[in-house]
Amino acid sequence: MSDATQTTRRTAADLAAALAAGETTSVALTQAHLDRIAEVDGSADAGVHAFLHVDAEGALAAAVASDERRAAGAPLHALDGVPVAVKDVLATTGLPTTCGSKILEGWIPPYDATVVRRLKDAGLPILGKTNMDEFAMGSSTEHSAYGPTRNPWDLERIPGGSGGGSAAAVAAFEAPLALGTDTGGSIRQPGAVTGTVGVKPTYGGVSRYGLVAMANSLDQVGPVTRTVLDAALLHELIGGHDPLDSTSVDQPVPGLVEAARQGATGDLSGLRVGVITELQGEGYQAGVLARFHESLELLTAAGAEVVEVSCPSFVHALATYYLVMPCEASSNLAKFDAMRYGLRVLPEGVDAPSAEQVMRATRDAGFGDEVKRRIILGTYALSSGYYDAYYGTAQRVRTLISRDFEAAFGRVDVLVSPTAPTTAFKLGEKLDDPLAMYLNDLATIPANLAGVPGISLPSGLADEDGLPAGFQVLAPAMADDRLYRVGAALEAALHDRWGGPLLDKVPALEGVAR
């Protein structure tokens, strides 16, 4: 294994320690990751295709600045100099932000998202922008207008979605850290199918300023990493109150890194774990359930008390989500009107077209199938005469789902389930069956509807196909630290069982980009 390859396999915490000890430089490890990207990322046609834009120049300039700060003895953030990848739905000055859509092709934002600002202020070189389903609508990254991302475990399979690019980049060792966004599972489900760690923070726990919204009441930015500790480090950096986001919660973020370190000792005595009755069984792949039950045994062995908890309204979560989300999305995407930024298409054969004609032609040419489906669905559900029957009903069922969480968290400290019902499916398999695609989010959606935090971490490989399965932990709002305590304990026990991280088994991928 070459030095560069060894570098890219190290965790962010490990790289940060090596930088602090003076064993390496930010330039060296940023270059190692850029080399790895050149080796495996390829294009829409071949390779992992996790990135839509790679910013070698910007990343190296930030790395040089980091090394200079360190040499000057300035006080540094723990992750200063450790490179990161950013999902293309987050605004970045100087770098295109397309949201995986043709309607924003080449768009360069005039401001940074708050989370991006915090990365830059802490000195993390940004390697580039990662691929995603268009406007984060999808569970496979196949709805990207720029071609799909491929799963590093099997390049013929989906990397999950919508944040398949961030998850694949981290799983393929192209980046030690990445940012994702999670509206119905877009961080956690890609985490599950790529064998990586992904966290959806409490709603309001991380700023949404500069995140191109799909559904404002559901979207959250969160970390995508290879270990629980790395996720805690990144989450603490991006979390906390932001006056630029009126939905940002003005409370301190609980000690996440501390919780991860405490959990890693492996002692969960006194912890009550609730297995959600409704999120297992029918529709879940046997190998996914087998790994889930093994993880439960490990939690018990670590001293946790595992009980079954019923959340009866969760069976309605998927339907509720597919009403609430399109309603919010159709309103949000109205801003893409071809007037102030983005694509402008003139309708064919029309002299002096009106603004409305231009708008209609642009939105037809600029939006892909799934985006159109959701806009039309939302427009329907919000139309007069249907509003109460659809949107109104969904909002009331949303209350029932929140009440189920409240009741459950009265009995247990955390809730658990498999993250996704299956392992990664083949590219193209569900592309024209929207309902089958939506079922991937079955277990992740309840957390978004209620605003509670969730983590997915790898639970092992399913026997049927040798592909990663995910284990999900959910906690009450603002108790994100519990995710890290439980996640780190389970991760430590699983690493002991496997003799190392699961990603040690991922294919080397050398030369796949050619």
Binding site: P110, G204, S217, H316, A352, P353, Y380, V397, P434, L449
Partner: protein, 99 residues
Amino acid sequence: MPEISRDEVAHLATLARIDLSDAELDHLAPQLSVILESVASISGVAGADVPPTSHPMPLTNVFREDVVVPGLTAEQALAMAPQAEEQRFAVPRILGDEQ
């Protein structure tokens, strides 16, 4: 059972300002019917006494200090405009022939 016709999809597309082609209309109408049929399963699940949730973290009266902060310059705001003229967004005609 909710059924959404091709004409209805065409009307919704007009409301949403998207020019859908005939092929797209043929494709979308049956797909939307299937999705709607599935999501309609929640009708009657929550009684009328259950209050709606529009937001998971109900925060009210979120204000900041009323102080002037720098915004985008005209150049920054117009930098990505499809068309700009005299420091303004240039747009297609906004009035119809009859007006």
